[in-house]
Every structure is written in C-alpha cells, then in structure tokens.
Amino acid sequence: MVSALFTVTGLRKRYPNGTLALDGVDLAVPAGELAVLLGANGSGKSTLLRCAVRLVEPDAGTVRVGDTELTGLRGAALRRARSQVALIFQQSRLVRRRSALDNVAAGALAHHPGLRTAFGGLPVGERARAAELLDRVGLGELAGQRADTLSGGQAQRTAIARALAQRPAVLLADEPVASLDPDATSATMALLRDLAHRDRLAVLCVLHQPALALSFADRVVALHRGRVVLDRAASDVSPADLAAAQVAAR
C-alpha cells in the first residue's frame, strides 16, 4: 500500500456551544488521489478542513502531512507546515483591489519571510511563477485584472492558482464549486483531478453533490454527525450506499 501523504487520526472537535462537530475522524489521502468528502449540512466536513490547517483548534487527534504532525506546532514551524497544505474556500477570498497576478504571488509568502514581503512587496521570481500558474488555470490573459472584476469561476480558479503558488503537497477544497455555474463547476473539478493525477498532490475536496463526486473522485468519503460512515473507491460506490450514508444536501 502507498504511504498516505495526508493523514487524520482520531480527530475530535466540540464547539463551545456544545456541538460535537468531529467525533474521532480517521482519514488518509495518498499523493495522486482526488478524494471527495460528502455529508449533509452540519456533518463536520468544513470543521475537518479547518482543523487540518489549524484555523480551528481540534480538541484531540492528529493531522499529518508526510512525516510532519501539524497539531501541536507553533510559530515558524506551524507556518512552514501550513505552507504544505493549501486550503481553497467556498468563496475565492481574493484581495479585491489587487490584480489576479498579485493575489496568486501572495500565495507564496510563506517561502519568503523578510522585510521586503513584510512591507507589502512581492518577490520578483514569484510574479513570473504566478503568471505561469495563471496560464495553467487558463487565466493567463487576465493576470493584470483587478480581482473584484473577475467572474465567480475566474476568481475561484485564481484562488486555486494562489493555492498552488504556496507549493503544497496537499490541497484541501471546501465546497469550491458551491457558487459556480455548471460549466465552471466541471472546469474546476477537472482541474482538481488534474492536480491530483498529474502533479501528484493529495486532494481532498468537500462537495454537496453526490453525482459530481462519483464522476470526478477517485475515492468517496462520507461524514455523518462527525463520523466517517463511508470510505471507498468511487467505482465501488452505488447510489444506495450514498443514500445509506445520508449524504444528501438538505
């Protein structure tokens, strides 16, 4: 068996209001695989991704990227580990008044600490690389355009380019297609699959649509009330399995 690149073990999270969002989640995604995480609202999908990058602090359990354990790290060590894991949000979260190119280049900031970047400067080499990444996601011509003038699909692809700029080993995506039209949805999912298969990233993508998961994913994982209730190769998953896992969006 291939050693998993992204591993979550026994992850638990209870919010201050008493909600148990994650109840001992175990999950592993190897390099080169697109795993899709399904689940109804409140099943803990988003919390899982947020705990993975420590945007939310888990109560117990571990998150590993390769040999590095993210849980328990602080300061510079945490920043280095975070740069290994890229998180794509439901909204693109671009800096509106900056160009697509500047937004993408900013993804690489973790690799360039120092005075220049602390005062808002971007490393020269990263701009050239950002241009390549924008080409890769099909937006080379819009590099100079301000982020708030991009369409939803273009903004989301720019956000993916920004995630790639941080040179991650793991790509996490939290409902990246939730606000996109069908064409942009297919293009984005195809891009994520390509990043797994061609670039050998471990990709974990939260989705709401089981049909989309079955057509793009290598593996399907379903969460229900903070627990993994299904974890299987997509080719072995039937609609009945999905119904049993109660993953339908409500």
């Binding site: 990058v53 740069s83 949000f89 800096v95 900013a106 900031l109 941080q166």
Partner: protein
Amino acid sequence: MGRRLVVGAAVLVGLLVLGQALLVAEVDPRKLVEGLGGVFRLVADGWPPDPGALPTAGLAVLQTVDIALVATVAATLLAIPFGAAAARPRSGGRYLSAPVRAVAAFLRAIPDLVWALVFVAAVGLGPFAGVLALTVHSVGMLVRLFAEAIDEMDIGPADALLTAGATRTQVFSHAVLPELLPTLGSLALYRFEQNVRSSLVLGFVGAGGIGFQLLSAMEEFQYRQASMLLLVLFALITVFELGSARVRAALR
C-alpha cells in the same frame, strides 16, 4: 392615567433642567440686543477688508495648512500600526487591544486646544507646538476609526493568507492594508480638513498660523486686517472641503 402622569413629570423635569442651564449659562437676550450695535460697528469698521494684510495672511495661511498637513501625516502613520493593535482580536493570544484603545481614548478626550497649551509650555510658542498638539489628538481619533474599519472588514482574504503560512505582518501588509487603504485614505483626508480648522484656533494660544495673526489684529483694533484674514480663511476652508470631498469620492 398613570402614563399621563409620567409624561407630565418628564416634561416638568426637562423644563427644570433647561431652566437651570439658561441660568447657569447666563443667557440674557437684553445683553444681545444691546450688544448688536457693537457687532454692527465691528463689521462696519472691518469694511472694506485691507488688501495690505494679504502678504501676511498668505504666509499665515500657509503655516496653518502646513501645521495641519504635518500633523495629519504623522498621526496617520502612527495610527496605522496602533489601529491594527487596537482592533478586536480575532484569534486568541493578543492582549494589546484594550490598553491601546484606552490610551487612544485618553488622547482624544483631551481637546487639541489643551494639548496646544501643554506643548506651548513644553516647546515654546510657534507652529511646532501646534503640530504636536494636533498630532497627539489626531492619533487618538484615527486609532479608533482605523480599528473600527479593521473590525468591520471581510477577514476572508486575511484568513486565506494565514492558512497559506504567511506571517501576521505579511497578512497585514498583503491582505488587510490593501483592502483598507481607501477607507484609511478617506478618514485621513477628513481628519486633515478638521485639522486645518483646529490649527486656526490653536493660533489663539500661540501655536502659530493664521489664528495668531487674527488675534493680534483684533487686539490692535485692526478690524480691516482681521476681516481680510477671515476672508482668506473662508476661501481656504471652502476650497479644502470641495477638494477633499472630490478626492474621497474618487477613493471609493
């Protein structure tokens, strides 16, 4: 019935409060009527404005604007880091917010005129005392306004860079500042406008600028000079308000 009683009592209390205010403030319409003649005489004596006062007025106006300019730039540069420190902490581990807010509240609670008295005593008469007074007071105002602007902004882009491994300083300069810049610019310009007006009054306590000239002219009964100064001042403030309104609209 009971409700009427309450309303009646409230009206009575309101009248009593207003009544004592009129007494304590020594409001006396007779004095106003008697004094009106004096006001008209002053206006008549000040007409026509003395063009001879223009060169002095020009220099004094420049000084007034420059006091406000230096103070606004200094206050803005200081208020950006302190405003960021005063913003509501979004993640644990930051205890700066409350003390920075408290200091800023103290700085702005003391009127700039009082700060001017303090700094005239410290660095002597002249425009520099005015610069210091306006800077200190403006820092107090701008830290609060900047912190509120940061509190209200969308933190999505900042979170995105933070989870990508950027340092807090990088997050601030690459995600927070670019989003905030138009707001900060607009607030600083508005502050500049107010500082031009304040800098004028500071002249009265010897902190330089056109206010000092105005006071001297009045004390020496040079009313035609004084009216020229007032005219220049009016023109200045009008130009300022128009200009700053345009720039602020363009920033949006």
